[in-house]
Amino acid sequence: MSAVLEVRNLTKDYGSFRAVDGISFDVPKGKVIGFLGPNGAGKTTTIQILTGLTSRTAGTVTFLGKDFDTHKEHCLKRMNFVSAFNTLLGRISVYENLLVFAHLYEIKNAHRKIMELLEYFEIRDLKDGQYQHLSTGQKTRVNIVKSLLNAPKLILMDEPTASLDPDIADKTLSLIERLRAERNLSILYTSHDMEEVTRVCDEVIFLQHGKIVARDTPLGLTKRIPNVTLRLMFNDHKEIITDYLSQKQYPFTLHDEHTVSMDIEEKLVPRVIFDLSKLGIWITDIEVKKPTLEDVFLHIARH
């Protein structure tokens, strides 16, 4: 699969502080790549470098096969950017803002393109309203329309759902999923929200202290933690259960007289249930909690 964006040994120093430390990655065509990491990991700095707003100390960025530095105009014409932290000019209308950007991207038939996108995102009726009077969710939609004006091959999304309420965030994520499905867009997506990254991203890159510490599919990353949390509810015979778990040396927590949970390898779950049944324990409820991306994130961040 051909890569839309190729980043090699990207490094950014702020004085003696190294914000991005020699990272390399590709964004393949039609894929959503998630950038995850704690605050200060270098996610936003990387995005800012890729837009040309911040300069890099070392490394190369190749976009659609062309060097970003020597073909900056060519590259910027074919990419776009959405961030929860950037807004459009508040006093002018949605249409006026979009018209300005359509001209900045030298879009032919700007009016038709704007109207098509407003229609697509079901916000045509907001066209004449001042941007500053829109709700946060409406602003996000307009920002996404702005980012699609130039029919980009790559969109850089820096926490696009930050500060949105769950319902609007969900709608925004649905839009992103729809865009990926219908327009074969490549997206580089940063977020703190593990759930949304799991939902929209094909691959996830974990950054920590400016370095890539893991890269895999969301499922692949969660499989890196072999343990699951097994929670059992039972009728009686607490002592038999604790004796069994102690003997097997499984770390466990007894929540009350009828509930116990333990972190064990996933493959041992059937064995434990079978053994306890054989010991005469009447299990009334079983809950297996698989590791989430958040667990992987915490696991990586703490090790």
Binding site: Y14, T45, Q48, T51, G52, L53, T54, S55, K72, E73, L76, K77, M79, N80, F81, S83, F85, N86, T87, L88, L89, G90, R91, I92, S93, E96, L99, V100, F101, A102, H103, L104, Y105, E106, Q130, K146
Partner: protein, 261 residues
């Protein structure tokens, strides 16, 4: 250079100005009130001094307003985009810095010319002073020279704000007035005490204001002053462009440019 991208910035300025009362006040109303104020003051002092002194004062105030509005326009419109957190959106489009500033400079010229013509007409109709008698050609020469200086100052101020942050954003509307007394805008340079009379010669607009006063007094263009102003202003704009480039590059290096938003 893309005309479409220059047009985009001009369009944005037009849309924005139409909806911003404070910009209309700053760019249109206050300058007009200022000129009218000077006209009343001139009428008052005209009772005891020669008419040409009064006319010098009025011409100086008109040309000063022209220069100030250009610089204000170049700097402050960018600040509105910065305050709206929209400047990054603009700078990730394929627009070149030169296109952006060309648009800002053209917009500044358009606004200040409108104000100049309007104020000049008010002075002509209400205060018996016809600035257009100086001649459209000479006036245009003075205005273009001042425009160059104002654009240069606007560019440097933006470079400084990009580099050092919005805490110095007051420069964008307050810096040029600090220089006003040193550029002998309303009075002859010789009025300035030493060493400021010599310092004034370091500012190219001083030559424009001196040339304009000369023309009112003698009826001819002081070509030497005019030439000096153009040489000075062209050099200044070139230096300002290099300074901006260096400041902008540094702001991209330090990350200050994005932090400003």
């Amino acid at each position: 250079m893309s005309h479409t991208r220059i047009y985009a910035i001009l369009l944005q300025e037009f849309f924005f100005m139409r909806r911003s009362v404070e910009v209309l006040f700053d760019v249109l109303l206050f300058p007009l009130v200022n000129v009218v104020l000077f006209a009343f003051l001139s009428s008052y002092i005209g009772q005891s001094v020669d008419a040409f002194v009064v006319h010098q004062l009025l011409l100086g105030s008109l040309l000063w307003q022209f220069m100030y509005i250009v610089q204000y326009s170049v700097s402050v419109h960018t600040m509105w985009n910065l305050w709206a957190r929209n400047l990054s959106n603009i700078f990730i489009t394929p627009i070149h810095i030169a296109e952006y500033f060309t648009a800002a400079a053209l917009s500044g010229a358009a606004k200040s010319t409108v104000v100049f013509v309007f104020s000049g007409t008010v002075l002509m109709l209400l205060f018996d002073f016809n600035v257009f008698e100086v001649g459209i050609g000479p006036l245009a020469l003075y205005m273009v020279s001042l425009w160059l200086f104002a654009v240069g100052v606007g560019i440097i101020i933006l470079g400084l704000i990009f580099r050092f942050g919005t805490r110095i954003s007051a420069f964008s509307w307050g810096f040029l007035p600090i220089l006003q007394p040193l550029m002998a805008t309303l009075f002859p340079r010789t009025i300035l005490p030493a060493p400021f009379d010599s310092v004034a010669l370091l500012f190219p607009p001083t030559y424009v204001f001196e040339a304009a006063r000369w023309q009112l007094q003698h009826g001819t263009i002081h070509w030497y002053y005019l030439l000096m102003s153009y040489i000075g202003n062209l050099l200044f704009v070139i230096m300002a462009s290099f300074a901006f480039r260096a400041l902008f590059r540094k702001s991209q290096e330090t990350g200050q440019f994005v932090r400003n938003e």
